[in-house]
């Protein structure tokens, strides 16, 4: 191997290590999170950036992302009016705004949630939370999540006491400002802990004000007995950005997590779900809709671990792919030995609108128990001819019928989101993208 080739393969990791050194010396790092930073970078050294044949990254090419040298994004001024436009009207008094991962008190308003809603900096978290984060790193297999831990310094902890119930949703708005000169990266971290029988509704939205940034988020949910989270993630980053987000959920006895995702894609958008149904009666719903055009890419990596009996999980993903868009889903449900009477469903539907659209799907089941009901399936298709004919026999033109069928394909999923503001926003972003294409 020539010297230059060696340099090339080593370069991406070296850039991260150097950035980390700068981060620790530069004063951004918090002493109380130092152990997590250290464990994170050690994990990164072990995992390294994925090579082409890495099983976890078969469907996504991370070379461009790994090969880009990023600076850590710093606090930058943002246009307040624009920020306000990104706040959902129903969350005016229940919104927390983060710019490049850092909480912005002047742009946030959590007054509508009352005193029981507590959000603090992760650096002030108790030992249980910190230990959980350290424990997670021991078997962390997602290199980007390891990088997040290596750089975590202004994460947020939302700690919901037992029995607290929040009727209206809280919005967490993550804004990336990018940088005019060099590509910038931020590592938002969120930990949400719900005490017994608590209930929380939450919308997490990612948006950018300029191109050329990498937002690398990790969201951890610890949901205690009988508690429930209704969660919707909106990914509307700039098309010329990279987005990685890991959602890790631990469900205890009879706990619930209803997660939905609407994604508009980017150069690379990767959602990593690690869901553990740890105790009896836990329930998980996970769904995602994406509309991809131009060269947009979205990858969903899903691992659902059924670790106890009598748990239910279901997944529904719908992707509309036009132009040279790429969608991929690698989803596995693992039913542990002893997790009897598990019910699990998984369905992935793809609608292809162009000859160059690309879709990879790998639904997978690993079952080690002998009394379970599990289904999985994938469809990849074009517009349904029977539906098209039906609409035409009612006098709708071909163009109108096709556009109606395309939008209805994803809107049937978007409509199930329990927050009308989000439904309207996603209809606006995702469906307009299609309309613009076919106008």
């Amino acid at each position: 191997m020539s010297e230059s080739a060696v340099k090339k393969t080593e370069a991406p990791e070296t850039a991260v290590l150097e950035l980390h050194k700068k981060f620790l010396e530069g004063g951004q790092a918090k002493a109380s999170l130092r152990a997590i930073n250290q464990a994170g970078i050690e994990r990164f050294k072990l995992l390294k950036f994925p090579h082409k044949k890495h099983e976890m990254y078969t469907f996504v090419n991370t070379n461009e992302l790994a090969g880009t040298s990023f600076e850590l994004a710093t606090d930058s001024p943002v246009d307040t009016a624009w920020v306000q436009s990104q706040v959902y009207p129903s969350c005016k008094n229940s919104v927390a705004v983060f710019v490049n991962g850092a909480f912005q008190e002047n742009l946030s308003d959590l007054s509508g949630l009352g005193d029981t809603f507590k959000m603090q900096c992760l650096s002030e978290a108790d030992d249980e939370v910190k230990q959980t984060l350290l424990d997670c790193l021991e078997d962390e297999n997602d290199v980007f999540a390891a990088i997040n831990s290596a750089f975590v310094h202004h994460g947020a902890l939302i700690d919901i006491p037992a029995k607290a119930v929040f009727e209206s949703p809280v919005q967490l708005l993550y804004i990336s400002t990018g940088s005019a000169s060099t590509p910038a990266t931020s590592h938002p971290r969120l930990v949400v802990r719900l005490g017994e029988t608590a209930e929380l509704k939450m919308i997490v939205a990612y948006a950018g004000t300029r191109e050329n940034y990498f937002v690398n988020a990790v969201n951890d949910f610890i949901i205690k007995d009988g508690a429930g989270v209704n969660y919707t993630q909106v990914q509307k980053d700039d098309a010329e950005s990279w987005h990685c987000s890991k959602t890790r959920v631990q469900l205890h006895r009879d706990a619930r997590f209803y997660g939905r995702n609407g994604s508009s894609g980017s150069r690379l958008t990767r959602h990593h779900y690690e869901m553990r149904l740890k105790e009896e009666g836990a329930e998980l719903h996970l769904s995602g809709a994406s509309v991809l055009a131009n060269q947009d890419q979205v990858h969903n990596f899903i691992r659902i671990h059924h670790e106890a009996p009598h748990c239910n999980s279901d997944q529904l993903f719908k992707n509309v792919i036009d132009d040279k868009g790429r969608s991929s889903i690698d989803g596995t449900v693992i039913v542990n030995k002893g997790a009897q009477l598990t019910n699990s469903d998984q369905l992935i539907n793809n609608l292809m609108l162009s000859d160059e659209a690309h879709s990879d799907n790998k639904p997978n089941l690993m079952i080690f128990a002998d009394d379970v009901k599990c289904t999985h399936g994938t469809t990849v298709g074009q517009i349904n001819e029977d539906q098209l004919f039906y609409l035409k026999t009612r006098g709708l033109s071909s163009e109108l019928a096709k556009s109606l069928l395309t939008t209805s394909f994803v809107s049937s999923l978007i409509q199930t989101i329990p927050f009308p503001d989000v439904v309207a926003d996603l209809n606006d972003i995702l469906l307009k993208k299609l309309e613009a294409k076919h106008a």
Partner: protein, 251 residues
């Protein structure tokens, strides 16, 4: 001029000929029933009339209102007043039923050179039509046919017929899968919509629908052809004796 004139029609799917020489004339104000055993080509005839792209006409002609129907696309036929009530109405999740009906209604208005109606005005029209066909208002906000029972799907077809007010309606096995109560309701809806100015073709396997919608003409379909035509009494004979006595000579 007759509303519909089918002359020596041959049509099929891929290379298989299914309709093998049908000649039939229908005038405004008439109700025709086409009966026949399963697989005789009745449904193919309905799809050819509606303009399904998968079926190919190899011989013969269809003239509708003086125009060559075979040269028209499915949506042109619909806008010209041809309506097919589907045997199996298609479910379209994500498309709101009321919005879909308004789109169809507006497409027709635009074709007639009129202004479109807005959702509020259409809502009034829709309420009236739903009352006419005995359909619960809750189906307005449901996704098109998704999760509807068999009876509600067929009622929704009749609702579309009521909204679009076609000149020529073909009901393909509208009675199949319906219990007697649903059948009566659907038939009542259809009866309110038939008039001197429009025509109806009912395609059915059973005689019981004809107890509620009375045809003036009954045609027996077998082997892709009409093998016997008569008045409504023919339907009773078919019910009593089965299809064998009419279809046997054709084989």
């Amino acid at each position: 001029m007759s509303l519909l004139e089918i002359k020596d029609l041959h049509a099929g799917f891929d290379t298989t000929e299914i309709v093998k020489g049908v000649t039939l004339t229908i005038n405004a104000g008439e109700v025709h029933a086409i009966m026949g055993p399963n697989g005789s080509g009745k449904s193919t005839l309905s799809k050819v009339l509606a303009g399904h792209p998968s079926y190919e006409v190899t011989q013969g002609s269809i003239t509708y209102n003086g125009q060559n129907l075979l040269e028209m696309d499915a949506e042109e036929r619909a806008l010209a007043g041809v309506f097919l009530g589907f045997q199996y109405p298609v479910e379209i999740p994500g498309v709101n039923n009321a919005e879909f009906l308004r789109m169809a209604y507006n497409a027709k208005l635009v074709k007639q050179g009129k202004d479109e109606v807005d959702p509020l005005d259409f809502d009034e029209i829709l309420d009236e039509k739903m009352k006419m066909v005995g359909m619960d208002k809750k189906y307005k906000d449901r996704f098109l046919n998704e999760g509807f029972s068999g009876g509600e799907k067929k009622k929704n077809e009749i609702l579309q017929m009521a909204v679009l007010d076609p000149k020529l309606t073909i009901l393909d096995e509208t009675d199949s899968g319906l219990d007697i109560d649903a059948l009566k309701e659907v038939a009542q809806g259809v009866n309110k919509l038939t008039s001197e100015n429009n025509a109806l073709i009912m395609i059915t396997h059973y005689q019981r629908l004809l107890n509620y919608i009375e045809p003036q003409f009954v045609h027996v379909f077998s082997g892709g052809k009409i093998v016997k035509s008569g008045g409504k009494e023919l339907a009773h004979e078919l019910e009593a004796q089965g299809y064998d006595w009419v279809t046997a000579p054709a084989k």
